[in-house]
């Protein structure tokens, strides 16, 4: 696979949010304002990049049996870094992301990419993969947040829009609005890709990085 296709893979064909349906919690929760969505996207991209590079560097060192705990510790380290930087230099963003900043640790996208890609590829390829996936995540977040902010508060990036600012539908900034908009976005992706995008993988264990352990531990 050449590097350009590695990069664009995460943007469209394997978009982590809209096609693979990974890391939905922050997408639903932080997408009330476009600015927050960008902040969350950048923080996640940073962690993804760090984790992918670290895993690719250490791929011959980490014993296979304990790789998942090792990945989790690496990810948690980068999340701590991201949290400290945000707290120091972007305090309003730190406040509005709240609990979802430390929760990047449990975002499935990161473990999933480490397990699927970084484990078996070079450092440079893994970094490119992380950038593509991060960009895909950020774009999906931005799309979600733009719809919710425009309809729900009548603003975009905090700038009031004509007409819409007077009659906003505030339900879209609340929890039910998040579910509705996400459902509609997935339906659009289904329609555009003629069902190919989601059909190949029923939501559930298949997309989960701990699926292998899970099957091993429980099937008996």
């Amino acid at each position: 696979m050449n590097r350009l296709s590695t990069l664009t893979n995460g943007l469209v064909k394997e978009n982590p949010v809209l096609v693979s349906l990974l890391g939905i919690c922050p997408v639903l929760a932080v997408s009330t304002q476009a600015a927050n969505a960008i902040g969350m996207g950048l923080a996640t991209t940073f962690v993804l990049l760090g984790a992918n590079i670290a895993v690719a560097l250490l791929r011959n060192v980490i014993p296979d049996k304990v790789r998942i705990p090792c990945y989790i510790v690496l990810v948690a380290g980068f999340v701590t870094l991201a949290q400290m930087v945000t707290e120091a230099y972007a305090y309003p963003l730190y406040l509005s992301l709240g609990i979802f900043l430390p929760l990047i640790t449990t975002n499935c996208i990161i473990l999933f990419r480490a397990e699927i890609f970084a484990k078996k590829n070079t450092v440079a390829d893994s970094a490119i993969d992380a950038l593509g996936m991060g960009a895909g995540f950020t774009l999906a977040m931005l799309a979600m947040a733009s719809i919710r902010e425009i309809l729900g508060s009548g603003t975009w990036f905090g700038i009031p829009l004509p007409v819409l600012a007077d009659d906003n539908i505030s339900i879209f900034t609340m929890a039910p609005g998040g579910f509705v908009i996400f459902g509609i976005l997935i339906a659009i992706v289904n329609k555009v890709s003629k069902g190919k995008a989601i059909k190949k993988k029923e939501f559930g264990c298949a997309g989960c990085p701990s699926a292998a352990n899970c099957q091993k531990g429980g099937a008996a």
């Binding site: 349906l21 939905i24 919690c25 922050p26 639903l28 929760a29 705990p69 989790i72 510790v73 948690a76 380290g77 999340v79 701590t80 949290q83 400290m84 609990i99 430390p102 929760l103 640790t105 449990t106 975002n107 499935c108 473990l111 339900i171 609340m174 929890a175 039910p176 609005g177 998040g178 579910f179 509705v180 996400f182 459902g183 509609i184 997935i186 339906a187 659009i188 289904n190 329609k191 069902g195 989601i198 029923e202 939501f203 559930g204 264990c205 989960c208 990085p209 701990s210 352990n213 899970c214 531990g217 429980g218 099937a219």
Partner: protein, 198 residues
């Protein structure tokens, strides 16, 4: 111990600020394991169990270790390691000593390590400056709220599985719509605490 404050914390975590339906924590198991009421219940009980255990372990560690030696910046790493090892430990222990419990919960335990609701519960307990008892009550309330949402939603899904929506709305989009309506109905709990205890 202030009994009323405990009730307020519990009601708030379980109903008003329901982890799944108003805070979007633990959406993955909510969508993935809610097809049947039986597995939804099993998953939720496992979550309650791990949440209580994790709170009982992380609270003392935060207060007596991290805070005392100003190591607060290690919080995320320490907590996720505790949760991961706790889950492993519980799995091994129940397998050996309580096989009946293992058979009903075992399948769900490994999934909980990457469940953000558990990590969120233990971090929020510290953020809110809860005492030990308050933290335990909050964890129990959050877990019960998770159970409630899972069980109701699995009931809804058993119906929606048999419906015939437009082609592109099949699967996840339809599930999302049902989740939206359920989360809307949880808005009804918004004023409960003010009106009961205010």
């Amino acid at each position: 111990m202030d009994f009323k404050a405990m009730i307020i914390i519990m009601m708030s975590a379980a109903l008003v600020n329901n982890y799944v339906l108003s805070q979007f924590l633990g959406i993955c198991p909510f969508l993935g394991v809610s097809k049947e009421t039986k597995s939804a219940t099993g998953m939720s009980v496992a979550v309650i169990f791990v949440m209580l255990l994790a709170t009982a372990v992380t609270w003392p560690i935060q207060v007596f270790l991290l805070d005392r030696y100003s190591l607060g910046f290690l919080q995320i790493i320490v907590f996720i390691l505790i949760i991961a090892s706790l889950v492993q430990f519980v799995e091994i222990a129940t397998k050996k000593y309580i096989p009946a419990l293992y058979n009903s919960l075992g399948v769900f335990l490994p999934l909980i390590t990457t469940n953000c609701a558990v990590l969120a519960a233990v971090i929020l307990n510290i953020k809110e400056n809860y005492t030990f008892m308050q933290s335990m009550v909050n964890a129990l309330g959050a877990g019960l709220g998770f159970l409630l949402a899972m069980v109701i939603f699995s009931g809804i899904r058993e119906y929606t599985e048999n419906t015939d929506p437009p082609e592109s709305f099949k699967g996840i989009p339809l599930t999302m719509m049902s989740a939206a309506i359920l989360s809307l109905s949880f808005f009804g709990f918004a004023g409960v605490i003010e009106n009961m205890f205010g």
